[in-house]
Protein backbone atom coordinates (compact mmCIF):
# COMPACT_ATOMS: atom_id res chain seq x y z
CA UNK A 1 0.00 0.00 0.00
CA UNK A 2 1.30 3.43 -0.94
CA UNK A 3 1.18 6.46 1.27
CA UNK A 4 -2.17 7.43 2.72
CA UNK A 5 -3.45 10.47 0.85
CA UNK A 6 -4.67 13.22 3.15
CA UNK A 7 -6.64 16.39 2.49
CA UNK A 8 -6.34 18.95 5.26
CA UNK A 9 -8.77 21.75 6.12
CA UNK A 10 -7.65 24.92 7.91
CA UNK A 11 -8.94 28.46 8.40
CA UNK A 12 -7.54 31.73 7.06
CA UNK A 13 -5.54 32.35 10.23
CA UNK A 14 -3.57 29.11 10.18
CA UNK A 15 -3.02 29.56 6.45
CA UNK A 16 -1.19 32.79 7.25
CA UNK A 17 -3.69 34.83 5.25
CA UNK A 18 -4.82 36.95 8.15
CA UNK A 19 -6.95 37.25 11.24
CA UNK A 20 -10.46 38.55 11.71
CA UNK A 21 -10.13 41.02 8.83
CA UNK A 22 -9.70 38.09 6.42
CA UNK A 23 -12.33 35.83 7.99
CA UNK A 24 -14.54 36.22 4.91
CA UNK A 25 -11.98 34.35 2.80
CA UNK A 26 -13.76 32.02 0.36
CA UNK A 27 -12.87 28.32 0.12
CA UNK A 28 -9.68 27.76 -1.80
CA UNK A 29 -7.60 24.67 -2.39
CA UNK A 30 -3.82 24.64 -2.57
CA UNK A 31 -1.71 21.66 -3.48
CA UNK A 32 0.75 22.22 -0.70
CA UNK A 33 1.27 21.59 2.98
CA UNK A 34 0.45 24.69 4.99
CA UNK A 35 0.81 25.70 8.64
CA UNK A 36 -0.34 22.96 11.02
CA UNK A 37 -0.20 20.56 8.07
CA UNK A 38 3.58 20.69 8.35
CA UNK A 39 3.38 19.43 11.89
CA UNK A 40 0.82 16.76 10.95
CA UNK A 41 2.88 15.62 8.00
CA UNK A 42 5.89 15.19 10.27
CA UNK A 43 3.69 13.32 12.73
CA UNK A 44 2.67 10.79 10.05
CA UNK A 45 6.29 9.62 9.90
CA UNK A 46 6.09 8.80 6.22
CA UNK A 47 2.92 6.72 6.45
CA UNK A 48 0.68 9.43 5.09
CA UNK A 49 1.05 12.71 3.31
CA UNK A 50 -1.05 15.81 2.80
CA UNK A 51 -1.77 16.21 -0.91
CA UNK A 52 -3.91 19.32 -0.65
CA UNK A 53 -4.94 21.96 1.86
CA UNK A 54 -8.35 23.58 1.77
CA UNK A 55 -8.55 27.03 3.30
CA UNK A 56 -11.77 28.79 4.26
CA UNK A 57 -12.41 31.89 6.34
CA UNK A 58 -14.29 31.25 9.57
CA UNK A 59 -16.89 33.94 9.02
CA UNK A 60 -17.44 32.88 5.44
CA UNK A 61 -18.09 29.31 6.53
CA UNK A 62 -20.37 30.38 9.36
CA UNK A 63 -22.41 32.79 7.27
CA UNK A 64 -22.67 30.63 4.15
CA UNK A 65 -22.79 27.23 5.77
CA UNK A 66 -24.56 25.30 2.98
CA UNK A 67 -22.64 26.89 0.17
CA UNK A 68 -19.27 26.61 1.89
CA UNK A 69 -19.91 23.02 2.86
CA UNK A 70 -20.88 22.06 -0.68
CA UNK A 71 -17.84 23.82 -2.11
CA UNK A 72 -15.41 22.21 0.33
CA UNK A 73 -16.96 18.77 -0.25
CA UNK A 74 -16.50 19.24 -3.96
CA UNK A 75 -12.84 20.12 -3.43
CA UNK A 76 -12.26 17.11 -1.18
CA UNK A 77 -13.95 14.81 -3.68
CA UNK A 78 -11.65 15.91 -6.43
CA UNK A 79 -8.62 14.52 -4.60
CA UNK A 80 -10.36 11.31 -3.53
CA UNK A 81 -8.23 11.14 -0.36
CA UNK A 82 -7.93 8.18 2.01
CA UNK A 83 -8.29 10.52 4.96
CA UNK A 84 -9.59 13.99 5.76
CA UNK A 85 -8.37 16.06 8.69
CA UNK A 86 -9.73 19.42 9.82
CA UNK A 87 -8.02 21.78 12.25
CA UNK A 88 -7.12 21.51 15.07
CA UNK A 89 -9.37 24.38 16.09
CA UNK A 90 -8.46 24.63 19.81
CA UNK A 91 -11.00 26.97 21.43
CA UNK A 92 -11.85 29.00 18.31
CA UNK A 93 -15.64 28.70 18.19
CA UNK A 94 -16.45 29.34 14.54
CA UNK A 95 -13.42 27.38 13.41
CA UNK A 96 -14.47 24.49 15.63
CA UNK A 97 -18.00 24.46 14.25
CA UNK A 98 -16.61 24.61 10.70
CA UNK A 99 -14.21 21.73 11.41
CA UNK A 100 -16.98 19.65 12.94
CA UNK A 101 -19.45 20.38 10.15
CA UNK A 102 -17.07 19.58 7.35
CA UNK A 103 -15.59 16.50 9.05
CA UNK A 104 -19.05 15.09 9.59
CA UNK A 105 -20.01 15.80 5.98
CA UNK A 106 -16.85 14.27 4.51
CA UNK A 107 -17.33 11.18 6.64
CA UNK A 108 -21.05 10.72 6.11
CA UNK A 109 -21.68 12.19 2.67
CA UNK A 110 -18.47 11.18 0.90
CA UNK A 111 -17.73 8.08 2.98
CA UNK A 112 -14.13 9.15 3.49
CA UNK A 113 -12.54 8.52 6.90
CA UNK A 114 -12.29 11.85 8.67
CA UNK A 115 -11.37 13.41 12.00
CA UNK A 116 -10.69 16.74 13.65
CA UNK A 117 -9.35 18.19 16.89
CA UNK A 118 -10.46 20.93 19.28
CA UNK A 119 -10.74 21.99 22.90
CA UNK A 120 -13.46 20.18 24.81
CA UNK A 121 -15.37 23.42 25.48
CA UNK A 122 -15.36 24.51 21.85
CA UNK A 123 -19.04 24.66 20.78
CA UNK A 124 -18.12 22.48 17.81
CA UNK A 125 -17.15 19.69 20.21
CA UNK A 126 -20.61 19.39 21.73
CA UNK A 127 -22.25 19.58 18.33
CA UNK A 128 -20.19 16.88 16.65
CA UNK A 129 -18.54 14.66 19.26
CA UNK A 130 -21.18 12.00 18.73
CA UNK A 131 -20.70 11.92 14.96
CA UNK A 132 -16.97 12.12 14.47
CA UNK A 133 -13.67 11.55 16.22
CA UNK A 134 -12.55 14.82 17.78
CA UNK A 135 -9.16 14.78 19.42
CA UNK A 136 -9.18 16.68 22.68
CA UNK A 137 -6.66 19.52 22.46
CA UNK A 138 -5.56 22.37 24.69
CA UNK A 139 -7.46 25.65 24.46
CA UNK A 140 -4.86 27.63 22.51
CA UNK A 141 -2.55 27.14 19.57
CA UNK A 142 0.32 26.92 22.04
CA UNK A 143 -0.87 23.32 22.34
CA UNK A 144 -0.26 22.56 18.67
CA UNK A 145 2.62 20.17 19.26
CA UNK A 146 0.62 18.21 21.79
CA UNK A 147 -2.45 18.21 19.53
CA UNK A 148 -0.53 16.86 16.57
CA UNK A 149 1.07 14.17 18.71
CA UNK A 150 -2.43 12.91 19.46
CA UNK A 151 -4.09 13.57 16.12
CA UNK A 152 -1.56 11.96 13.80
CA UNK A 153 -1.64 8.45 15.33
CA UNK A 154 -5.44 8.40 15.62
CA UNK A 155 -5.78 9.70 12.06
CA UNK A 156 -3.59 6.86 10.77
CA UNK A 157 -5.65 4.32 12.71
CA UNK A 158 -8.87 5.71 11.28
CA UNK A 159 -7.49 5.73 7.73
CA UNK A 160 -6.26 2.16 8.02
CA UNK A 161 -9.57 1.01 9.48
CA UNK A 162 -7.89 -0.25 12.63
CA UNK A 163 -9.88 -0.69 15.79
CA UNK A 164 -10.11 2.53 17.78
CA UNK A 165 -9.48 2.29 21.51
CA UNK A 166 -11.34 4.05 24.31
CA UNK A 167 -11.40 7.86 24.43
CA UNK A 168 -8.64 7.75 27.04
CA UNK A 169 -6.41 5.44 25.02
CA UNK A 170 -6.80 7.31 21.76
CA UNK A 171 -7.23 10.84 23.11
CA UNK A 172 -10.56 11.75 21.59
CA UNK A 173 -13.61 13.36 23.15
CA UNK A 174 -16.02 10.64 24.39
CA UNK A 175 -18.67 9.92 21.80
CA UNK A 176 -21.13 8.29 24.16
CA UNK A 177 -20.64 4.83 22.68
CA UNK A 178 -20.72 1.88 25.05
CA UNK A 179 -18.98 -1.38 24.24
CA UNK A 180 -19.52 -4.69 26.01
CA UNK A 181 -16.56 -6.74 27.08
CA UNK A 182 -15.83 -9.57 29.49
CA UNK A 183 -13.95 -8.91 32.67
CA UNK A 184 -12.71 -11.31 35.33
CA UNK A 185 -14.20 -9.40 38.27
CA UNK A 186 -17.90 -9.31 38.81
CA UNK A 187 -19.82 -6.08 39.18
CA UNK A 188 -20.29 -6.15 42.95
CA UNK A 189 -16.57 -6.55 43.54
CA UNK A 190 -15.73 -3.75 41.14
CA UNK A 191 -18.29 -1.49 42.77
CA UNK A 192 -16.92 -2.13 46.28
CA UNK A 193 -13.36 -1.55 45.10
CA UNK A 194 -14.42 1.70 43.49
CA UNK A 195 -16.21 2.78 46.66
CA UNK A 196 -13.18 1.99 48.82
CA UNK A 197 -10.98 4.04 46.53
CA UNK A 198 -13.44 6.88 46.69
CA UNK A 199 -13.56 6.78 50.48
CA UNK A 200 -9.77 6.75 50.65
CA UNK A 201 -9.74 9.78 48.40
CA UNK A 202 -7.89 7.86 45.70
CA UNK A 203 -8.50 8.21 42.01
CA UNK A 204 -11.07 5.89 40.55
CA UNK A 205 -12.57 5.47 37.15
CA UNK A 206 -16.31 5.22 36.79
CA UNK A 207 -17.74 2.58 34.50
CA UNK A 208 -20.79 4.64 33.82
CA UNK A 209 -20.04 8.18 32.75
CA UNK A 210 -22.91 10.53 33.38
CA UNK A 211 -23.80 12.65 30.39
CA UNK A 212 -22.90 16.26 30.95
CA UNK A 213 -25.60 18.80 30.46
CA UNK A 214 -24.84 22.38 29.70
CA UNK A 215 -25.40 24.94 32.37
CA UNK A 216 -28.08 27.53 32.01
CA UNK A 217 -27.41 31.05 33.22
CA UNK A 218 -30.07 32.22 35.63
CA UNK A 219 -32.39 34.85 34.21
CA UNK A 220 -32.62 38.35 35.62
CA UNK A 221 -34.44 38.75 38.92
CA UNK A 222 -38.00 40.05 38.74
CA UNK A 223 -38.19 43.55 40.09
CA UNK A 224 -41.84 43.65 41.04
CA UNK A 225 -43.55 40.32 41.52
CA UNK A 226 -46.91 41.99 42.08
CA UNK A 227 -46.91 43.10 38.45
CA UNK A 228 -45.39 39.99 36.93
CA UNK A 229 -47.15 37.44 34.76
CA UNK A 230 -46.12 33.97 35.83
CA UNK A 231 -46.48 30.90 33.63
CA UNK A 232 -46.24 27.23 34.49
CA UNK A 233 -44.18 24.78 32.49
CA UNK A 234 -43.83 21.19 33.61
CA UNK A 235 -42.14 17.96 32.71
CA UNK A 236 -44.50 16.28 35.17
CA UNK A 237 -46.99 15.38 32.45
CA UNK A 238 -50.10 17.13 33.80
CA UNK A 239 -52.79 17.06 31.09
CA UNK A 240 -56.57 17.42 30.85
CA UNK A 241 -58.24 14.14 31.80
CA UNK A 242 -57.96 11.61 28.98
CA UNK A 243 -54.67 13.06 27.71
CA UNK A 244 -56.18 14.59 24.52
CA UNK A 245 -52.80 15.12 22.82
CA UNK A 246 -51.62 11.59 23.59
CA UNK A 247 -48.39 12.70 25.19
CA UNK A 248 -46.34 9.55 25.64
CA UNK A 249 -45.79 8.26 29.18
CA UNK A 250 -42.06 8.08 28.47
CA UNK A 251 -39.68 9.44 25.80
CA UNK A 252 -42.18 12.14 24.92
CA UNK A 253 -42.13 13.38 21.36
CA UNK A 254 -44.43 16.33 22.01
CA UNK A 255 -45.78 18.76 24.55
CA UNK A 256 -49.23 20.19 25.19
CA UNK A 257 -50.50 23.72 25.76
CA UNK A 258 -53.54 23.89 28.03
CA UNK A 259 -55.93 26.66 28.96
CA UNK A 260 -56.49 27.24 32.67
CA UNK A 261 -58.56 30.40 32.35
CA UNK A 262 -61.00 30.39 35.25
CA UNK A 263 -59.55 27.25 36.76
CA UNK A 264 -58.82 27.77 40.45
CA UNK A 265 -58.07 24.22 41.38
CA UNK A 266 -57.05 21.15 39.41
CA UNK A 267 -59.59 18.59 40.51
CA UNK A 268 -59.59 14.82 40.16
CA UNK A 269 -61.33 13.57 37.05
CA UNK A 270 -60.63 16.77 35.13
CA UNK A 271 -56.84 16.68 35.22
CA UNK A 272 -54.34 13.85 35.44
CA UNK A 273 -50.74 13.02 34.72
CA UNK A 274 -49.50 11.26 31.61
CA UNK A 275 -46.15 10.56 33.29
CA UNK A 276 -45.15 6.90 33.41
CA UNK A 277 -42.07 7.26 35.57
CA UNK A 278 -43.70 7.39 39.00
CA UNK A 279 -46.81 6.24 40.86
CA UNK A 280 -49.43 8.59 39.40
CA UNK A 281 -52.03 8.12 42.16
CA UNK A 282 -51.30 11.30 44.11
CA UNK A 283 -50.85 13.42 41.03
CA UNK A 284 -54.17 12.16 39.66
CA UNK A 285 -55.99 12.86 42.94
CA UNK A 286 -54.66 16.42 43.01
CA UNK A 287 -52.66 17.66 40.02
CA UNK A 288 -51.88 20.86 41.94
CA UNK A 289 -49.22 18.74 43.64
CA UNK A 290 -47.29 18.84 40.37
CA UNK A 291 -48.29 22.27 39.09
CA UNK A 292 -49.49 24.53 41.91
CA UNK A 293 -52.37 26.24 40.11
CA UNK A 294 -54.41 26.53 43.33
CA UNK A 295 -51.62 28.28 45.25
CA UNK A 296 -50.78 30.57 42.37
CA UNK A 297 -54.45 31.59 42.08
CA UNK A 298 -54.36 32.37 45.78
CA UNK A 299 -51.24 34.52 45.33
CA UNK A 300 -52.89 36.19 42.37
CA UNK A 301 -55.91 37.13 44.53
CA UNK A 302 -53.67 38.41 47.30
CA UNK A 303 -51.83 40.58 44.78
CA UNK A 304 -48.49 38.89 45.45
CA UNK A 305 -48.11 38.07 41.78
CA UNK A 306 -49.51 40.06 38.88
CA UNK A 307 -51.28 37.17 37.25
CA UNK A 308 -51.07 33.54 36.34
CA UNK A 309 -50.60 33.05 32.59
CA UNK A 310 -53.64 31.67 30.81
CA UNK A 311 -51.84 28.62 29.40
CA UNK A 312 -49.47 26.11 30.85
CA UNK A 313 -47.14 23.88 28.85
CA UNK A 314 -46.67 20.29 29.74
CA UNK A 315 -44.63 17.31 28.64
CA UNK A 316 -43.36 14.10 30.18
CA UNK A 317 -39.72 14.23 31.31
CA UNK A 318 -39.45 10.47 31.78
CA UNK A 319 -36.67 9.29 29.47
CA UNK A 320 -37.24 12.19 27.11
CA UNK A 321 -34.18 13.13 25.10
CA UNK A 322 -32.49 16.35 26.14
CA UNK A 323 -32.48 17.40 22.49
CA UNK A 324 -36.29 16.98 22.28
CA UNK A 325 -36.79 18.89 25.50
CA UNK A 326 -34.59 21.66 24.19
CA UNK A 327 -36.60 21.72 20.97
CA UNK A 328 -39.93 21.94 22.81
CA UNK A 329 -38.65 24.75 25.01
CA UNK A 330 -37.22 26.67 22.08
CA UNK A 331 -40.69 26.63 20.48
CA UNK A 332 -42.92 27.53 23.37
CA UNK A 333 -40.46 29.97 24.94
CA UNK A 334 -41.08 32.19 21.93
CA UNK A 335 -44.81 32.10 22.61
CA UNK A 336 -44.23 32.82 26.27
CA UNK A 337 -42.14 35.84 25.40
CA UNK A 338 -44.68 37.04 22.83
CA UNK A 339 -47.45 36.65 25.40
CA UNK A 340 -45.56 38.94 27.78
CA UNK A 341 -44.79 36.32 30.42
CA UNK A 342 -42.23 37.62 32.89
CA UNK A 343 -41.28 34.41 34.63
CA UNK A 344 -41.84 30.69 34.43
CA UNK A 345 -42.16 28.18 37.24
CA UNK A 346 -40.76 24.90 36.03
CA UNK A 347 -41.85 21.82 37.89
CA UNK A 348 -41.00 18.17 37.47
CA UNK A 349 -42.44 15.22 39.37
Amino acid sequence: MGKIKVVHYINQFFAGIGGEEKADFKPEVREEVIGPGMALNAGFKGEAEIVATIICGDSYFGENMDEAKAKVLEMVKEYDPDLFIAGPAFNAGRYGVACGTITEAVQNELGIPAMTGMYVENPGADMFKKDVYIVSTRNSAAGMRDAVKKMAPLALKIAKGEEIGSPDEDNYIPRGIRKNFFTDKRGSQRAVEMLLKKIRGEEFETEFEMPDFDRVEPGKAIEDLSKATIAIVTSGGIVPFGNPDHIESSSASKYGKYDIEGVDDLVEGEWETAHGGHDPVYANIDADRVIPVDTLRQLEKEGKIGKLHRYFYSTVGNGTAVASAKGFAAEFSKELVEDGVDAVILTST
Binding site: P36, A142, M144
Partner: protein, 109 residues
Protein backbone atom coordinates in the same frame (compact mmCIF):
# COMPACT_ATOMS: atom_id res chain seq x y z
CA UNK B 1 4.69 35.57 18.94
CA UNK B 2 2.39 37.59 16.73
CA UNK B 3 2.59 37.23 12.98
CA UNK B 4 4.03 40.71 12.40
CA UNK B 5 6.94 40.09 14.74
CA UNK B 6 7.59 36.68 13.22
CA UNK B 7 7.85 38.34 9.84
CA UNK B 8 10.21 40.99 11.19
CA UNK B 9 12.49 38.38 12.71
CA UNK B 10 12.43 36.36 9.50
CA UNK B 11 13.22 39.37 7.29
CA UNK B 12 16.00 40.63 9.52
CA UNK B 13 17.54 37.17 9.66
CA UNK B 14 17.50 36.94 5.88
CA UNK B 15 19.12 40.36 5.65
CA UNK B 16 21.85 39.98 8.28
CA UNK B 17 22.32 36.23 8.58
CA UNK B 18 21.28 34.03 11.50
CA UNK B 19 24.75 34.07 13.02
CA UNK B 20 24.55 37.84 13.44
CA UNK B 21 21.19 37.92 15.19
CA UNK B 22 20.28 38.06 18.87
CA UNK B 23 16.63 38.14 19.88
CA UNK B 24 15.84 39.71 23.21
CA UNK B 25 12.43 38.90 24.64
CA UNK B 26 10.44 40.30 27.49
CA UNK B 27 7.47 37.96 28.10
CA UNK B 28 6.09 38.29 31.61
CA UNK B 29 5.90 34.61 32.42
CA UNK B 30 7.65 31.38 31.65
CA UNK B 31 5.30 29.85 29.14
CA UNK B 32 4.94 32.98 27.01
CA UNK B 33 8.68 33.59 27.06
CA UNK B 34 9.28 29.96 26.16
CA UNK B 35 6.89 30.14 23.22
CA UNK B 36 8.60 33.25 21.88
CA UNK B 37 12.00 31.63 22.28
CA UNK B 38 10.76 28.50 20.56
CA UNK B 39 9.41 30.54 17.66
CA UNK B 40 12.81 32.03 16.78
CA UNK B 41 14.71 28.77 17.24
CA UNK B 42 12.60 25.70 16.40
CA UNK B 43 9.90 27.55 14.47
CA UNK B 44 6.40 28.80 15.31
CA UNK B 45 4.91 26.20 17.66
CA UNK B 46 1.39 27.25 16.66
CA UNK B 47 2.18 26.68 12.98
CA UNK B 48 0.23 29.77 12.05
CA UNK B 49 2.91 32.33 11.25
CA UNK B 50 5.74 32.98 8.80
CA UNK B 51 8.14 31.02 11.02
CA UNK B 52 6.02 27.84 10.93
CA UNK B 53 8.40 25.05 10.02
CA UNK B 54 11.35 27.47 9.82
CA UNK B 55 14.14 26.56 12.21
CA UNK B 56 16.23 29.69 12.58
CA UNK B 57 18.02 28.51 15.72
CA UNK B 58 18.74 32.14 16.69
CA UNK B 59 20.41 33.24 19.88
CA UNK B 60 17.57 34.22 22.17
CA UNK B 61 17.61 35.65 25.68
CA UNK B 62 15.07 37.03 28.07
CA UNK B 63 15.79 40.44 29.57
CA UNK B 64 15.98 38.98 33.08
CA UNK B 65 18.58 36.34 32.17
CA UNK B 66 22.06 36.81 33.68
CA UNK B 67 23.70 36.75 30.22
CA UNK B 68 21.87 39.92 29.30
CA UNK B 69 22.03 41.52 32.71
CA UNK B 70 25.81 41.20 32.84
CA UNK B 71 26.22 42.63 29.36
CA UNK B 72 24.57 45.95 30.09
CA UNK B 73 25.15 48.95 32.34
CA UNK B 74 23.99 47.99 35.84
CA UNK B 75 22.45 51.40 36.55
CA UNK B 76 20.45 51.42 33.34
CA UNK B 77 19.33 47.83 33.96
CA UNK B 78 18.23 48.72 37.44
CA UNK B 79 16.31 51.72 36.25
CA UNK B 80 14.62 50.02 33.30
CA UNK B 81 14.19 46.39 34.38
CA UNK B 82 14.96 46.27 38.12
CA UNK B 83 11.33 46.75 39.09
CA UNK B 84 10.03 44.00 36.78
CA UNK B 85 12.82 41.69 37.88
CA UNK B 86 11.39 41.86 41.39
CA UNK B 87 7.85 40.93 40.42
CA UNK B 88 8.50 38.30 37.74
CA UNK B 89 9.19 34.65 38.37
CA UNK B 90 12.74 34.98 37.11
CA UNK B 91 13.79 31.39 37.83
CA UNK B 92 10.91 29.96 35.85
CA UNK B 93 11.56 32.26 32.89
CA UNK B 94 15.30 31.54 32.88
CA UNK B 95 14.74 27.81 33.05
CA UNK B 96 12.23 27.87 30.22
CA UNK B 97 14.20 30.10 27.83
CA UNK B 98 17.53 28.45 28.60
CA UNK B 99 16.00 25.04 27.98
CA UNK B 100 14.71 26.10 24.57
CA UNK B 101 18.00 27.75 23.67
CA UNK B 102 20.00 24.67 24.53
CA UNK B 103 17.65 22.36 22.71
CA UNK B 104 17.03 24.30 19.52
CA UNK B 105 19.68 27.03 19.32
CA UNK B 106 22.27 26.65 16.57
CA UNK B 107 24.75 29.09 18.10
CA UNK B 108 25.42 27.85 21.59
CA UNK B 109 28.36 29.97 22.51
Amino acid sequence: MDLENQKRVKDLTEKYGAENMVVLIGGAEGEAAGLAAETVTAGDPTFAGPLAGVQLGLRVYHAVEPEFKEAVDADVYDEQIGMMEMVLDVDEIVEEVKGIREEYGKFND
